[in-house]
Symmetry: C2
Subunit: 257 residues, 2 copies
């Protein structure tokens, strides 16, 4: 008996022409039947944004031989929603992979990242989902050392499934000297913004946002620690944002009617 090849949705936030998604497509073609739905322009930092006030475009394109590909005018989350509803039409894919992002999405970046939000949306749709990111923002980033880990992790997820209502956030260090995979928690950190203030030719102020990532967590079980020590970090992510541990304390508050 031959097993049916799994169907795999590939998405990203850097846009459909980014080198990172090409590597992910190639690796997924070794495992299953691939369909790509990705933004027609870069959507970094779009988080879990969806398009409400304007219509969406979804156009089939021929970019890489033998790969079914669609470019979408919307956000990464829009791509997943359109893929599930207009392309897979209820026959949900067996796996949703997002990336490979040019740049890390560890720690608090899980919230800002379009790559990770697309994977979160996959999980909300009950599709086993993984986001992949590399510690290199360059267009010419070298993803070669990520390939075998992507294979291993994707195969494990296809074989074992994932715990209910979770997905994986996988980040790769830039170094080629990888020590292996570590299961981690999201490190406590935030961005300290700096706004570069300028004046336009019409004498009006404007700002460029820049920032510095500030780690506030000394834990050795975090994704930041693993990456720093040349491990691939794998964080199980959930989309229940309830702070369950805080409920008893809030229940002691008194509110007047």
């Amino acid at each position: 008996m031959t097993k049916k090849k799994p169907t795999i949705l590939v998405v990203n936030d850097d846009g459909i022409t980014a080198p990172g998604i090409r590597v992910l497509i190639e690796e997924m073609q070794l495992i299953g039947h691939v369909i790509v739905v990705a933004p027609d322009s870069p959507q970094s930092g779009m988080g879990h944004a969806i398009t409400i006030g304007k219509p969406l475009r979804l156009d089939k394109i021929e970019l890489y031989d033998g790969v079914e590909m669609y470019k979408c005018s919307g956000t990464p989350v829009d791509c997943v929603k359109l893929a599930v509803n207009k392309i897979f039409k209820g026959n949900k894919p067996d796996l949703c992979v997002s990336g490979i992002n040019h740049g890390l999405n560890n720690s608090i970046n899980v919230l800002y990242s379009g790559t990770m939000s697309a994977a979160v949306e996959g999980a909300i749709e009950h599709i086993p989902s993984i986001g992949f990111s590399l510690d290199d923002f360059s267009y010419h980033a070298d993803f070669e050392h990520c390939r075998k880990f992507i294979q291993q992790i994707a195969k494990q997820v296809l074989e074992n499934g994932l715990p209910t209502n979770t997905l994986l956030n996988v980040n790769f260090p830039k170094t080629k000297e990888l020590k292996g995979i570590k299961i981690c928690r999201q490190a406590g950190a935030h961005w300290v913004e700096e706004f570069d203030e300028r004046v336009d030719p019409h004498n009006r102020d404007y700002y460029w946002m820049t920032g510095k990532f500030e780690l506030q967590d000394k834990g050795e079980d975090t994704d930041c620690y693993a990456l720093e020590h040349n491990y691939v970090s794998v964080v199980p992510v959930q989309f229940d944002m309830t702070a369950h541990h805080a409920i008893p304390e809030l229940n002691t508050w008194t509110f007047d009617r």
Copy 2:
């Protein structure tokens, strides 16, 4: 001895001219010194998006007498970042409130909502933060019955603080017959999208995204249940998205080197 009035940052996602933010400004003026930084256009569904590839505008405007107000060209999260860095300049506000949103942000909507993401960003910045939303999308929504609860909840947060790294997601039913406040967890639900397919005058397809909220959770401790039973729902929210409970299971997986 007179206590110093608390400073309060007011933000939203419906835009600075929305009636909902005006009600919130009025209520916060009864408690503290208010500064408003809100988007110059509607930003519903923007989630935790930030503006990376283009510059931001931040302009002081005079809209309501005696209120310090700034309109921002960016997302709700951009507004919080600009407020903290360019307006408060390190003297962080004592409270950040977001809303009142025209429309519910209960359950899974916490992820899509710009209102809630602004509050999440406030919490990441270690500012006690609350998002408020009403079950009425209308521009002419009636927020009167929300006022006293907003007062009570904001005062409690100013007095007691919030558990570390949490914020509050407060939702109001449309009914005036409110039974009180319930501390809840986020209900399990998702949106079932429908894409309204049309053809433009140039004979190209486009889609309008519409959707139906589908509750998948029969729990009586959820925000959906509370709202359904005419309570104000209060969910403590965290921005650590780690599925801590899933770590032991993932540690049993074997990966080849």
